[in-house]
Symmetry: D2
Subunit: 340 residues, 4 copies
Amino acid sequence: MNKYSKLHRVGVVGFRGYSGAELLRLLGHHPGVDIFLLEHRSETERRHGPLGAQPKKSIPATAEAAVREKLSVVFLATPAEVSMELASAFLDKGIKVIDLSGAFRLNDLDTYARWHHEPHTAPELLGEAVYGLPEFNREAIRTARLVANPGCYPTAANLAIRPLVEAEVIDRSRGIVCDAKSGVSGAGRKPTLKTSFCEVTDNFSAYSILKHRHVPEVLQTSVIGEREFTFVAQLLPIDRGILETIHIRVQRIKQAVELLAIYEDRYENEPFVRLYAPGSVPDLHAVSRTNFCDIGFVFDVDSQRVVIVSAIDNLVKGAAGQAVQNMNLMLDFPETEALL
Amino acid sequence: MNKYSKLHRVGVVGFRGYSGAELLRLLGHHPGVDIFLLEHRSETERRHGPLGAQPKKSIPATAEAAVREKLSVVFLATPAEVSMELASAFLDKGIKVIDLSGAFRLNDLDTYARWHHEPHTAPELLGEAVYGLPEFNREAIRTARLVANPGCYPTAANLAIRPLVEAEVIDRSRGIVCDAKSGVSGAGRKPTLKTSFCEVTDNFSAYSILKHRHVPEVLQTSVIGEREFTFVAQLLPIDRGILETIHIRVQRIKQAVELLAIYEDRYENEPFVRLYAPGSVPDLHAVSRTNFCDIGFVFDVDSQRVVIVSAIDNLVKGAAGQAVQNMNLMLDFPETEALL
Amino acid sequence: MNKYSKLHRVGVVGFRGYSGAELLRLLGHHPGVDIFLLEHRSETERRHGPLGAQPKKSIPATAEAAVREKLSVVFLATPAEVSMELASAFLDKGIKVIDLSGAFRLNDLDTYARWHHEPHTAPELLGEAVYGLPEFNREAIRTARLVANPGCYPTAANLAIRPLVEAEVIDRSRGIVCDAKSGVSGAGRKPTLKTSFCEVTDNFSAYSILKHRHVPEVLQTSVIGEREFTFVAQLLPIDRGILETIHIRVQRIKQAVELLAIYEDRYENEPFVRLYAPGSVPDLHAVSRTNFCDIGFVFDVDSQRVVIVSAIDNLVKGAAGQAVQNMNLMLDFPETEALL
Amino acid sequence: MNKYSKLHRVGVVGFRGYSGAELLRLLGHHPGVDIFLLEHRSETERRHGPLGAQPKKSIPATAEAAVREKLSVVFLATPAEVSMELASAFLDKGIKVIDLSGAFRLNDLDTYARWHHEPHTAPELLGEAVYGLPEFNREAIRTARLVANPGCYPTAANLAIRPLVEAEVIDRSRGIVCDAKSGVSGAGRKPTLKTSFCEVTDNFSAYSILKHRHVPEVLQTSVIGEREFTFVAQLLPIDRGILETIHIRVQRIKQAVELLAIYEDRYENEPFVRLYAPGSVPDLHAVSRTNFCDIGFVFDVDSQRVVIVSAIDNLVKGAAGQAVQNMNLMLDFPETEALL
């Protein structure tokens, strides 16, 4: 009765974190997969909950266990250092890996070390990791063994900026300013003072100004220079959502519809990018709990200024949703399965 | 030019916590005191802030340092185990102590051990500690060496319940239900998963049902039995404020004004208790950042039911504000100084 | 390819409100229905949004238009006075009606007039309206023409209380106290000062104490007397979710599992009621955006006190989700379709 | 016993709004004034509250009543159209006016009409109105009859930008981007869908992009051109606070301390501007419920980029606090009275 004759078995490491929990939620609606929880550390945390809930299958987060259970894909919803430690063992056994950390997104070791402030411990994998932004890398993802799922901030930034860079309409001498705001779940589930309720509520704060580790991911993907790109990360008193306000100057644009046409050409068949009429921009509610990236802009012809607003749900298109989109491509499911 | 000819020197241990920070804020508006920060542990936390701010005087949290600086009073805004460890040394040197923890509020050792799940380590002080609820204990506080500042939940509960108990209008066979809701700052500043932003926002949860350690403080103060008093603590997704909805049945009350009269008689000269017209009740905004306890109720004559709402700011009347009120009594300042 | 050979056409009046929007969201995942927007007033509101979104079919909210489009069911997500005005015309044309307002929930005209402070304008329909709480009324719902979808507060209350009333374990002489807390969406989408952001945020307030119009719906369904049942509605600074803390005394219960067994017997085959182990209770996150009602309790054998916590999402099990559950029963779909 | 031998009588029109309520709160701590509520419309709103609160003196909002009561100053916490209607009558009777609306901030009629989309109805007053930003206009304010209290967004922007413009270090060919975020109270107390709780919570949205009516106030005060200055206003899900992230390029700056020195020179004696060490920036908690404007920045020498963060409480330094600061100057009180 299921629409797929064969189920793929997929595993999730780090399922207790916010991205991991969102993965379980989305995969739970996917008719083509059978989910396994991969226990990495002997975690004793018990979330109390209703009686009689169907227990998920739980196995150790080892390649051996994964082979034994015939997993097709393993998601690593883990910190970068854990992903670097775990990835190759799964790959060596022929199990595909989708990594949600920042471990394999940059293709240059020095850049990694400089922005992450520590050396990379699995450099041999950087060469083959495919950057999992389907809108720009779809075919490579289909055949990849290792997909580096993009960062949340870079997903919203690259989808908004790269079409205009490719179309060569940006006056790059004026720079690109990306003023980004994120919900707190992007910082992970581990308790810290910075993410404590009383510190965040009724507050708004900027952090890692000009130094955020997601910056090189935008530079590499949209092919822009470090001095051109100003990025500020800021913490919103909400749990989920990223909205980026991007300030650029263009050249030789006479009407807003010319800019819209660039986006439309680029994204006309994309299921998860939605465009707004010029002068209209998305808010966070528009994308909450969806895999959409919504993009709108305001254009002033006299000054050639463009203010672009790009919005995603950081846990969906910015993490778990995009990971499922990548899995769909890798396992030959319809790309939107479980995501609409 | 100062209205007081002589300044009292006062010290605060635990000034980095939420209650401690509120103490510094309130004492900063008190024209009669000179504030010292008492460093208990070698804490390295630095809160960045504006340049050139006047540094507060900082000394070790020892009785010796306190004597050297001629402190009159030390506030302990510390966990109970730290308060039990520190209090006697200050007292031995003739320095008064106002303790904001639960260490000295109960006068029975067994009750303490049972509700706190650990033995008391300074039992010799229980006898002399004065429960610092000025509305019911004003004269004893004036001459106390050691004041046990009341808990936040018990302050709102006792002020609402005790006048009716004393007036003997409650049908005690029907029980007293106190359904209490608190902001997150009541749980302290130490990061925990339970007080993380993403766990608290958009949520509401009950905890320590029937077992909250503040229960015996209400029983002892309002002289009611454990089986009579049902208490549920619940966490609101806000940083500060306590609102308690108290459900009782009365007997032989013909009109709401009879109940109001009981409260009015009891609180007519109290500067920090405000009453509402029958049928009208306070919300949290009414008391936010004030030292008031606001009390209102709704009465149904047919069923003799009364629903009482009692609201305070847990960091002010529920902690730091009441502590300053107690200090004002102990040092012979006007009771409302720095609090209106 | 669709799992249902025939689609039912369903219409929604009041789709711009919060319950109506939630209905559209849920019905959008239902493979067996084709959705029509029924425009009741000439509303000009335009929500800006992405370009190229598939427009929903929009027709006037009249029985004629509904007949022309061959609708099977119409949902009225409208105020009670609008529901009373519209319902009979649809019914007369053989179109089933699921009404989400309070118009048809009470079977007594005087009770309606007394609690709603205005007379009922469609009294002829009260007799045939079926109260749409599937857990207690499933068979009648299947064949009903007009279903009165339960109120949000009563859904959480009745599911928690009625099994214990039926099992005759409550000491009814002690009364039943239901201290209820709700998110703001329960108040509807029309702007008011009371539901303005600055009035609600950082606040918590009680309203309609002992006089809430949902009270008679609990009395009628759980068969309890008005003087027995104390209900307080309170506003949480969140958008969705209801949590009710219910305080009762039982008699002759020796162990918590006896109470659990009562619930388990009653709900063993219910897909949308989840029970917790004694001593454990749900929070709002557990039910957010689901059609579940989660119920847990704490029992104290000595005093025979029970504190029950019942939680739902007010827009799902408390409104749109339960309405879809009722539609599934009325149109012979699997009861959980679009709801898990 | 009061520190001032003579009290000034001051009146507030619009005291029910958020700025008006904040004015009452601040003036309530001012030992030199006696407060009158000026009733403009026959408003029937009654905020329930505690019994026995001292009623404020209430008179009609007319020049005659103000003369009869010998008011020195009237605050207009009213919409611009009401301020334009009321101001001259008070001024004609010799009563000073501090207007919190946008009515008198711009000195050019055409600019007003263009950004406010309606003509000015009291143009004769534009010439004498003094822009009430004490840090740049102190002496004129002291002797002004009519002070135009600055807008909330412009206060934070001008204090951050103007020193660098005056010092001629900004590369103005690169433009100035001000990405501003505000709490909801800035939109006023009148209920609207846009400021409803459920629309704002868990959300973040940009509005009036490039067209906000506060823009010309920054251009006029900091002497920058419209095409140079990009301003985006955005709504935070909090009640109060403004944080502006300002992106500029400078020229010929070798070290961050050179920029700091510019600010320090400009603000060394300013009681309400606080500077941060280079690399450190304020968050909203730092200025909440204070009259401070906190300014910090991050500088990258290679690219000459500067990211400035300027934070205020929109109801205090952005409205009522600055109005009291202006009143202190106009009535010859110490400038910080009631504000520290």
